[in-house]
């Protein structure tokens, strides 16, 4: 196995320089999610306006996969409509469940395709999904 396929530069970059990792004081929904098996935690603030994701900010502790994934997600989904964000999230979930058989739709997922390698490591899929699940939860609460 080539570890570089898992730890792509995009991931390590996001890990070292996470985007939107500073909780915005105003938000429409705040959620706190944990990964009980490893102890990773995330708090995510979401703002919506007229069916559009106007802001995602977050804070948390976790491994490079979970941190990079939420960083990428926050960049990617900001500015999208709720419907678009849901569709992208669905695609990302599908990619994670692909057991290494898919590369991901780069047009929709952009940087998030760098996480494709995670799908070969069942124990890490939850890391990659932590932020996305938090977003999903927050978007339900905010609507």
């Amino acid at each position: 196995m080539n570890l570089d396929a898992l730890y792509q530069d995009v991931i390590l970059d996001h890990y070292k320089h996470p985007q939107n990792k500073k909780l915005n004081a105003t938000y429409d929904a705040q959620v706190h999610h944990v990964n009980p098996s490893c102890g990773d935690e995330i708090t995510l603030n979401l703002s919506l306006s007229g069916g559009v994701v106007t802001d995602i900010s977050w804070d948390g502790v976790g491994c490079s996969i979970s941190q990079a994934s939420v960083s990428i997600m926050s960049d990617l989904l900001k500015g999208k409509t709720i419907d678009q964000a849901e569709a992208i999230s669905e695609k990302f979930l599908h990619l994670m469940q692909s057991k290494g058989s898919e590369k991901g739709d780069e047009d929709a997922l952009e940087d998030a395709v760098a996480l494709a390698g995670v799908s070969k490591y069942p124990a890490r899929i939850k890391c990659a999904l932590l932020g996305w699940m938090a977003f999903k939860d927050a978007s339900v609460q905010a609507q």
């Binding site: 944990v34 009980p36 098996s37 490591y121 069942p122 124990a123 890490r124």
Partner: protein
């Protein structure tokens, strides 16, 4: 392909051994526990040989493989019962499964739909195995709830004539066996489930004697919870199943607490993972779960309907032959409708323990005693019975040996 019990028997290594100085093993005690095919023994061994690690607890390859094997077994069980994967909980036995639901209900706080108080009622039947009676007695004791039961008719069926006065408006749970391990009676569930659901009670099915022997579809049956044991299902010892409707498992509090069933823990409290994890505290019985998966796949390959048909054919023949024997009295229904592969009987004044010993000396394994259904035995007015139970590896020849054995015993103890 026609059903070939002799060929099936060759999949079970234990039949290569002999009993009491060279006699062929005639195993008629599958109601107590079943024998294991090679594929099950190997599945358990191979787990240890190739994939052993703590499932759900490691980021290394072995832990991934152990998790896959364990969760793969859950998928097989779900498919076997026509259930959703997350509805399947691994326990150590049906006994644990039944204690799980009884204790978990006892843990339910005010406001939870499972909360039990002294104005509630718990309903069982007179033909329950101790495992589906005492946990409910204990829950009734702890909560002050009333324990009521359906009686058994002289011919060994449930007396449902008082259905509405047994399952009252305040009934919280109805727990009963699918097939009696003493009488062979297969209980007809429709009216009971309809009434239970009408009053808002949940229905728990003790499927120990049905899941191994016929196809059981939890959706079709419209039950709420189900329990069975791996060791009676050609599977390993040390594993059982607790199944529950997804929406109900979400509300049911946990039973055993500890590692892997939590969401978050502090020194003063904890929150729970979603089902099934909430009900599986600790490093699970992984090798046994995997063995059970192999067992259910083995049974599926043989065909559950074929197995059931084979047993019915055998039991019809056995009942007919036993009825020919003077002084032999069959305890339980003799008509074949809704009847499984278990026959209990008494033989004149011969105590079942003596009969069992005599048969054992011929290589025949039967069970004697109250079969962990002591209240039923008392009700039937016998101190004990002898029980023969058949499974996929039994043949007509086994029955012939048994019938001859009974007749010889009569002569011996005359």
């Amino acid at each position: 392909m026609s059903f070939d019990a002799l060929k099936i028997r060759s999949d079970f290594p234990i039949f290569d051994r002999t009993i009491r100085d060279g006699k062929r093993l005639v195993y008629l005690d599958s109601g107590a526990t079943s024998q294991k095919p090679r594929v099950v023994i190997d599945a358990e061994g191979d787990f240890y040989r190739f994939h052993n690690a703590a499932a759900h607890r490691g980021a290394h390859q072995l832990a991934e493989e152990a998790t896959d094997a364990f969760e793969g077994a859950r998928e097989i069980v779900a498919k076997f019962l026509n259930a959703a994967i997350d509805e399947v909980v691994f326990t150590k036995s049906a006994t644990e499964s039944l204690n799980l639901i009884a204790y978990a209900m006892g843990n339910a706080p005010v406001g939870n739909r499972f909360h039990v108080t002294k104005s509630d009622r718990i309903v069982v039947t007179e033909m329950e195995h101790h495992a589906n009676l005492i946990p409910w007695q204990q829950l009734a004791d702890r909560t002050g709830a009333d324990l009521s039961w359906f009686e058994v008719t002289p011919d060994g069926r449930l007396d449902l004539s008082n259905l509405n006065s047994v399952i009252t408006e305040n009934t919280k749970v109805v727990s009963l066996t699918h097939q009696s391990n003493v009488l062979g009676t297969i209980n007809q569930l429709g009216a009971i489930i309809a009434r239970a659901h009408a009053v808002g009670a949940v229905v728990v099915l003790d499927a120990c004697q049905s899941v191994p022997h016929m196809s059981v579809d939890v959706k079709d049956l419209d039950i709420d919870f189900l329990a069975f044991s791996g060791h009676k299902t050609v599977g390993p010892t040390g594993v059982g199943i607790f199944w529950g409707r997804s929406s109900l498992l979400a509300e049911l509090p946990p039973f055993l607490t500890g590692g892997s069933m939590i969401e978050s823990v502090t020194m003063t409290g904890a929150t729970w993972a979603p089902a099934p994890r909430k009900f599986e505290a600790g490093v699970p019985n992984m090798a046994q779960a995997v063995g059970l998966g192999a067992a259910l796949e083995y049974l599926t390959n043989v065909g559950m309907d074929q197995i059931h048909q084979h047993e019915i054919t055998l039991i019809a023949s056995l009942i007919a032959q036993l009825q020919e024997i003077p002084d032999l009295h069959i305890v339980g229904p003799t008509d074949l409708a809704d009847r499984g592969g278990v026959v209990s009987f008494t033989v004149g004044d011969i105590h079942p323990h003596d009969l069992g010993q005599f048969l054992d000396n011929q290589g025949i394994a039967v069970r004697t005693g109250h079969h962990c259904a002591w209240p039923l035995t008392r009700k039937l007015g016998v101190p004990a019975t002898t029980r023969a139970s058949v499974y996929l590896y039994n043949t007509e020849e086994d029955l012939d040996v048994l019938v001859k054995g009974v007749i010889d015993a009569q002569r011996y103890f005359a």
